[in-house]
Symmetry: C2
């Protein structure tokens, strides 16, 4: 992979003015892929650029882009492009960057293939085959582990492998999906209880989308793991803590998580992230290096990513008062103890087959600072959250809206955004009477 | 549902002689559905009858069966039939039973739609959307839980809900798939180690296939749960115990399970199982009844199923000596502490959407007796397994073949079989060098 790829040149500008606005999320250096529908049209692939979406179907029909990668990317799901692997998405990026750059001869004709972003209805970027959720923040694991065992807060294997569990693919939705407060079972002082969760939480994570496929029984070594990453997004792993605590021993989280998982609809490709790669986080003091199957020179040098991540909360009272969302979390992905490539290599180390369109969650991206606690369960360890207008929160109440944002940043590079990952909590359904 | 449905009449015989042989697995009362291909043909739906497979595509084209359910069942996957819900599979069962019964006027013409079972290559019965594995045997949970805490061997929630975890859909295969010994990481006396598992085990489970769909956020009450069960099969949840022990805390099993899961290719429909329903197992002494959302009169009366389940082992030495497979396990599904309907209602109680083609594993079906221990981890608690020819086993060695069998039985009913669920262990791959 060429880190001097022309598409990353910070001097390059688009002929779409909004893409060149300082601090915008979707400059010419980003070009994230997604699936959208315009006014009544069918879902199709698109690329976010400034405040527009490039309709890849229209661009293909107009002859502005061509080839198998472009055809795959124009489909109503990115699975085929993901299956084609990284060279295909690299070729597509080059073509789209050339098309949208200042000086492009096709600019006049391409204008017709642009849709205003506010008129684009987003769809899931692909059919999600499997969803695996990791837990790679040492700080998150320490803070919550200390509640169970202050002497040994970290799981025994934490520093030896990226801990993960299989999660639920069917309940993954894109930003904006309604967060229906789940009913569930847990133990209270008065006995085992079933009813609406009283401890609904968010978890700020990054999403990792998988490219290519390894046959069942065939591992993916570290040297090949980066090629298996198609791109990245934001992920909110909504969690019901009361249900979780009760159901977890010994098989792990189940209904506490499968109520809903929300992802941002735009996939920031691995190509776009090249300028934001950083060395893998330093191992904690006294912790030996990973075993060889989870280690590589490339991973040590550039396995990490610099992404500033934030969570905002807007309550119904704040909304009524016209207040801005309050920031609850500000953290950094580069702090994570394991890299995306290590997640892939570990996941496939037993021969498990990873499929195009598989989704990995990184786990809650908490860091060492107070403001970097990336879920309420951690934040309220020091008491309820104070909000503008005098409100407080321990867990989420009906009507609360949670907004995740992310921005990749590096010295000398044009920073790029991930769009938003939003969700508003709605009341639990009445439990259906047994007919 | 009519328990006096004519398709269950024990007097009914097929015009295919092998289907009437005493003790056969696939009499006229069974009619399990599967997907197969004949000599070079494309995969299509079929029904097992005696030592034949009724080719549903051919039967449809010959006008022997008709309608939307038959068309859906003839496809190369049963997902659409599963989506149509139980009335569709009931209608299909009636039509096929009439076609294959002695006295059928179409018998002559139907002969051409029969394929010898030994020439039918089986395929997965459907595209598996999601796979969830339960743990509903109290005996299994007690025996293995006692290794960690002899004072409190059962998970706290065991008697309050059917414990489960999300497992891996991509690594589910049908009977006959190669069991590649996985590499993995665990802690040994000499430190954290990565290499081929030294504790490969089988787990005898039943498979539950889901019909219909509930929207995300919409629970399935107990009264509706039985309608969401399309059918049943056998499931081997291959497990690497050394990897499992190390990776489990706190998020549960991950790579110890996603190496492979094997299911039997024939789906015994919920309709076929009606004569074998029994009351839900009695609650253990002193255990209160389930909370109302996991209870119903119908479930108490007929939520359980009588299925005798067995595991056999054939080692390379036994194979060379011409010995018959040795039985390691003989157990009974009716002993399970939670019923399939309770699994469905619990799974959807948080609003999680269950999809047509979703797979539930029941968990290891161990019972209270010595011979009903349904995995090696339990069996070897009393020492290594002795085998014909003087061999012993603790865990599975390369070349070992494990065979699951099951048979539903009830007084006055014609017992029906589930076919086989087989797998042979092959050596671990050399760990790929880091290129």
């Amino acid at each position: 992979m060429d880190v001097h790829d022309f598409t990353h040149d910070p001097q390059r500008r688009a002929w779409i003015a909004s893409a060149n606005a300082p601090g915008g999320e979707f400059p010419l250096q980003n070009l994230p892929l997604g699936v959208f529908s315009g006014d009544g049209g069918a879902p199709r692939g698109g690329v976010a650029i400034g405040d527009r979406v490039l309709d890849l179907r229209a661009a293909l029909e107009a002859g502005l882009i061509e080839g198998e990668a472009a055809e795959a990317a124009a489909e109503p799901g990115l699975n085929r492009l993901m299956a084609m692997g990284r060279p295909a998405s690299r070729a597509l990026r080059h073509a789209v960057s050339a098309l949208l750059a200042e000086g492009s001869e096709a600019a006049g004709r391409a204008e017709a293939a642009l849709v205003p972003m506010e008129r684009a209805r987003m769809h899931p970027p692909c059919a999600i085959a499997n969803f695996t959720d990791f837990m790679v923040s040492r700080d998150h694991s320490m803070r919550l582990g200390a509640l169970k065992d202050p002497e040994a807060p970290l799981p025994p294997a934490f520093d030896s492998l990226p801990i993960a569990y299989h999660s639920r693919a069917s309940s993954v939705r894109i930003s904006g999906a309604e967060v229906v407060r789940p009913n569930g079972q847990w133990r209270r002082k008065d006995g085992v209880h079933f009813g609406p969760t009283e401890a609904l939480d968010y978890e700020l994570e990054m999403a990792v989308w998988i490219a290519g496929e390894n046959a069942l029984g065939t591992p993916v070594p570290m040297a090949r793991a980066p090629e298996r990453i198609f791109g990245f997004g934001l992920l909110n792993d909504w969690s019901a803590r009361d249900i979780q605590r009760w159901e977890m021993p010994p098989l792990g989280p189940f209904l506490a998580k499968s109520l809903l998982t929300t992802v941002s609809p735009w996939v920031v490709t691995a190509e776009a992230m090249i300028p934001f790669r950083v060395p893998a986080a330093a191992r904690a003091e006294g912790v030996p290096p990973p075993l060889p199957h989870l280690d590589s020179p490339a991973n040590r040098e550039r396995g990490g990513m610099s992404v500033a991540l934030e969570v905002f909360l807007l309550t119904p009272a704040m909304r009524a008062a016209g207040a801005a969302p309050a920031r609850l979390t500000a953290t950094e992905f580069a702090w994570m103890a394991w890299t995306p490539a290590q997640m892939v290599a570990h996941h496939a180390s037993n021969g498990c087959n990873l499929l195009p369109g598989d989704l990995l969650g990184t786990g809650t991206c908490s860091g060492p600072t107070e403001e970097s606690r990336a879920c309420l369960a951690e934040i309220i360890l020091s008491g309820p959250v104070g909000l503008p207008g005098g409100e407080t929160r321990r867990f989420l109440l009906d009507g609360d809206e949670v907004i995740l944002r992310g921005r990749a940043h590096a010295p000398g590079a044009v920073s790029i955004g991930f769009g938003e990952c939003r969700g508003t909590v709605t009341p639990a359904p009445d439990w259906p009477a047994d007919e």
